[in-house]
Symmetry: C2
Subunit: 359 residues, 2 copies
């Protein structure tokens, strides 16, 4: 069953060049030296192209934070116990996590999704259940999930965007929670890019150099055991991925199909972007890289994705925290485009129209 | 008359180390891997030290945007006509400039100050008059201002902070508007640092390489003509500075004295920071560098100031636009510090307290 996925892929089109041209022309008439707002100008033009509107509105903002567990933690690749994934879901629902604070700061809602946390949850207010299984299998021993589970994860992400559209959704941030998911992300990056695990792997939540060497070995073993096909991103996702990574890739594909900009967070969201853009390269134009994280390999990953991050604040938390800050910059960019006065409106002299001087 | 200045300098003290220690300890107990919020953690700790409060509030935010003209425009160092300074003041008051849009985005008020615009203004609602003179003299021919005018400019900035404190003022952003003020700023940087004008000078609002070479020559001439004393920052300000630059330096000194963080904007605010920190080096700890601008020399200037910018978005507009974005990050940082749950509060397992597992 890939009907939902196939249908969404057919809806992903190039950016609207009429809207980008109109936004660019308006930027050049606003009361500032041309280009002086730098990346905020470029961002506003991209957002016009994504939405198909010269003056996009980003009123309705949401962070989709997906949680899942990873069987590979059995190999000892993380510092924190696996139960932290589940505990943090309760923290998200209680409003005490970093992403809750930052989402409130930027006026976004947080959509907390269980993609497959060990132990599962009773039905809880505010928790969206898209559980695929109680965590993935240990990829160092066997495939993390079946191919059908990988497709189900992608389609779960697509489903979230479809249903959340009804609540108003002008921009999406992606976020993750899952002990062991930087290990899966490094494996995905190595499988798709051809870089070695030593190049794609970092210290995650804070392991030391000895533990890092072990983590690299585990990833090498996972790749050797499963032989993911780099030309088949769904195969890569199933062999060495995670449920939340598949779900976030689905969110990105659906965002592109529905002309909704997707601001991606750090290393794990980047791995999801590798899957999404490998499935459909056009998706890349709908993505905005919020930040480059402190995780080794993330700068290389963004370079491979051909995405330029907006922020570099040495963050490495996930949850969507970087994405929240990026959404605020995106909103600033479109407000500048929409609400600044033009030279004519403000009676300000421009360099190229000396005959209008003295207004 | 330097009474106000002398008095404010006596009030500038080191950061509150009890508050920084308390904030650091709290950061280490919040539900995230230690250090994973990167520069936002450091920023929250600095803000605790500035305000003397473990949990600072940044509810009341203001951008002080100071406008003034520069006699050196007679040398042909800018692209836009001088009247743009005055026109942009009307644009600020009308709410159509970039700083108005960004200040509204972050919930800050804009305080527009006439420090000495050619032509002057009738009394206008919303305009603070601190006019020193109708623009500076042409520094390529003579000192930009008298020593007394330089002191008056500094004291005008101090006065703004004193009176605005009554309206609530928890954080200040600095902004500038003034045709020719990157020329003055480059001259100040060269005079104080000893770097050559070719190292400190950039394209401003968009001049080409031939015009840049001319601008460098004008600055070399201004320095040769006036021989500013690098050990005497008020002498530097008077010989090659500007009224808005002096005013902003006064704002920084007053911020430090009143324990109010000052988020500095780009190249021109950086020149004001050079003056303020040369007058009182302790001021530096109260400053937050919002961004590194596209202006050549700004990265070098921040390095000389020993300030590390939060953002790098290729902006080069001034007005306080970068400062506004920096204030939003500062507010995010203190909200995280104040509102995130601790491990204990949320029942989340920490790495160093395994006995608390399974909460």
């Amino acid at each position: 069953m890939t009907n939902t996925l196939d249908r969404i892929l057919k809806e992903i089109k190039p950016l609207d060049t009429k809207a980008t041209a109109a936004a660019r022309q308006r930027q050049d008439n606003l009361t500032k030296p041309r280009g002086s707002l730098g990346r905020l100008e470029e961002l506003s033009i991209q957002l016009a192209g994504i939405t198909g509107q010269m003056l996009p509105s980003l009123e309705h903002k949401a962070i989709v934070t997906m949680a899942a567990d990873h069987g590979v933690v059995a190999e000892g690749v993380t510092l924190y116990p696996q139960e932290v994934t589940r505990q943090m879901v309760f923290n998200f629902l209680g409003g005490g996590a970093a992403i809750n604070v930052l989402a409130k700061h930027i006026g976004a809602r947080v959509i907390v999704v269980d993609m497959g946390v060990v132990g599962g949850f009773e039905s809880l207010p505010g928790l969206v259940c898209k559980m695929i299984d109680f965590g993935t299998k240990n990829m160092a021993q066997e495939p993390a999930m079946t191919r059908q589970q990988a497709i189900d994860a992608l389609q779960a992400g697509i489903g979230i965007v479809s249903s959340e559209k009804n609540n108003g959704l002008n921009i999406i941030g992606t976020g993750d929670m899952g002990l062991g998911n930087t290990t899966a992300s490094s494996a995905i990056f190595a499988a798709i890019s051809g870089y070695s695990p030593s190049q794609t792997t970092g210290h995650g939540t804070g392991i030391d150099d000895r533990q890092l060497a072990h983590k690299v070995k585990v990833i090498e073993k996972a790749l050797a055991t499963n032989q993911p096909n780099p030309k088949d991103p769904i195969d890569v996702l199933s062999k060495v991925g995670g449920f939340e990574i598949g779900g976030l890739a689905g969110v990105m594909l659906a965002g592109a199909a529905h002309k909704i900009p997707v601001v991606i967070d750090g290393f794990v969201s980047g791995a999801a972007a590798l899957i999404a853009t490998a499935i459909c390269p056009q998706t890349r134009d709908y993505l905005i890289a919020s930040h480059v994280s402190a995780e080794a390999g993330h700068a290389l990953m963004l370079n491979f994705l051909e995405l330029k991050p907006l922020l570099n604040l040495n963050m490495r938390l996930g949850e969507g925290t970087g994405a929240a800050l990026g959404i605020s910059l995106a909103e600033a960019a479109v407000k500048l485009l929409s609400h600044m006065a033009t030279f004519n409106e403000a009676g300000v002299s421009d360099i190229e129209t000396p005959e209008e001087k003295g207004a």
